[in-house]
């Protein structure tokens, strides 16, 4: 055995942590000996190229099945999807670092900036940044969320509106709002108008054209959307404002860190299950099917959601991007995710079953 006091040998052994424990036990000293044999005299630290080589091959070794050409592709799919879901979860948690949504007083004051000399008819201030029908998500709502209504879990906003027929044309209201917002230090982003046909009454006996003009503005960590409605009926709000928080700065690093950890976990778990079921395992085929099912159920919503969200982003102005979980089809397709998670847990449980030849492993990487 190489002397343990050798700093280079110690550093090589540390790098061998990328390999499974059983492999290290069996081949570790051999690999260290080879690394020391190939190192020129006087070297005290591994070269970057050597470290990258050990990391890459150690992670490959963790998948077992050395002759398989597909196991790496399966592990990559698992790592990416686990990384994406972990990043989304970390992003959601990091959203809690945002300042609370504007309260009633602040929302009312901003409303009066947009529409002077008029008090809002109603002000609502949700207690959560993302809500299910604007309410905090509760266990009672989970069944509806899972069974197709997950799309209603959305970013919430403090709202205020004024009902009744518009006192002046929408263009004039928007022009006044733009001037006053600019004076109050808001940065005006974009204005868009959309006209569509709507029912003129409850029985929809006749159709009227309705124009919605939206104005987006931002100030600090607050996003403002002003909507002016051209309908001149007393029960419809002709002007409403929605105040949201911008994505907190911690969301990006949290998502990146969470994503990397999740990807690593996905690779390691799939690798462990792959090594456990490599040979002579009673549930080898079932575990393979269960993990395949998990990957299918986790990837399908993502593959469906990404083009849909991209198209939605292109169709409408967006002051900021939709949160990552919506790009993964969550929680709209949360049932898929849940069934996939159950399938993965079942696969892990079955992989824990003892092998038929517990005393013998087919490859050194099987431990």
């Amino acid at each position: 055995m190489a002397p343990t006091g050798d700093p280079l040998a110690r550093r090589y052994r540390r790098l061998l942590c990328c390999y499974p424990r059983a492999y290290r036990r069996e081949r570790g000293e051999e690999l260290v000996a080879l690394l020391l044999d190939t190192a020129p005299p006087g070297r005290t630290r591994p070269r970057l190229r050597e470290a990258a080589d050990l990391l890459r091959n150690g992670m490959r070794c963790r998948l077992g099945r050395p002759a398989s050409r597909t196991v790496v592709a399966w592990a990559a799919l698992a790592a990416v999807v686990c990384g994406l879901f972990s990043a989304a979860l970390a992003a959601r948690v990091a959203w809690e670092t945002a300042r609370p949504l504007p309260g009633r007083a602040e929302t009312g004051a901003i409303f009066r900036t947009v529409l002077p000399d008029r008090e809002p008819d109603e002000v609502t201030t949700p207690s959560t940044f993302f809500g299910y029908y604007t309410q905090p998500l509760t266990l009672q709502a989970l069944d509806n969320l899972l069974l197709g209504d997950g799309g209603e879990y959305q970013q919430t906003a403090s709202n205020a509106w004024a009902a009744g027929p518009p006192p002046v044309p929408a263009e004039q209201t928007v022009a006044v709002a733009q001037r006053r917002l600019r004076e109050a230090g808001w940065h005006l982003d974009q204005t868009a108008a959309e006209t569509f046909d709507d029912c003129a009454d409850k029985l929809c006996a006749s159709i009227v054209p309705v124009t919605y003009t939206t104005l987006d503005a931002s100030r600090g960590d607050t996003l403002l959307t002003v909507t002016v409605n051209s309908r001149s009926e007393p029960e419809y709000p002709y002007l409403s404002i929605a105040l949201r928080r911008t994505t907190p700065p911690l969301v990006l690093p949290a998502a990146v860190g969470g994503g990397l950890l999740g990807a690593l976990a996905g690779w390691l778990v799939l690798g462990w299950a792959s090594r456990r079921t490599e040979a002579s395992h009673p549930a080898r085929a079932v575990v393979k099917v269960l993990f395949g099912t998990t990957l299918l159920l986790w990837w399908l919503p993502t593959l469906f959601a990404v083009p849909s969200v991209v198209s939605h982003h292109r169709a409408e102005p967006h002051p900021q991007w939709h949160p990552l979980w919506e790009w993964l089809g969550q929680p709209t397709f949360s049932l898929f995710f849940l069934v996939g998670a159950v399938s993965a847990l079942l696969g892990i449980a079955l992989a824990l079953l003892p092998r038929r030849d517990a005393d013998r492993v087919s490859t050194l990487a099987s431990g």
Binding site: E30, L34, R65
Partner: protein, 111 residues
Amino acid sequence: MIRRVAAMREPTFLILTALAGGPRHGYGIVQDVAALSEQRVTLLPGTLYTALDRLTAEGLVEPDREETVDGRRRRYFRLTSEGHAALKAEATRLRQLATAAEARLRAFRPA
């Protein structure tokens, strides 16, 4: 049975060629591969052991013996009969390709 190894990669071919000269330990393979390739191919230890694991699982290579020299543990590997056949098949394939290329080159007249 001769295993059809489609388009054997150069490091694999060189490892099998090194082992065709007799059992070798890791360092011996690294040195032999460098010599065979005229220093073009330098196998890193992680890559070499991944390749040896794969070749062992494919039945082309098998462990031979172990020894400890100067406190360093060494495991020798040797070519199996299947590995011998695979290397022979690949060498034949490469020779046929090289012969075809040389024949064309001899007849080649630059425009």
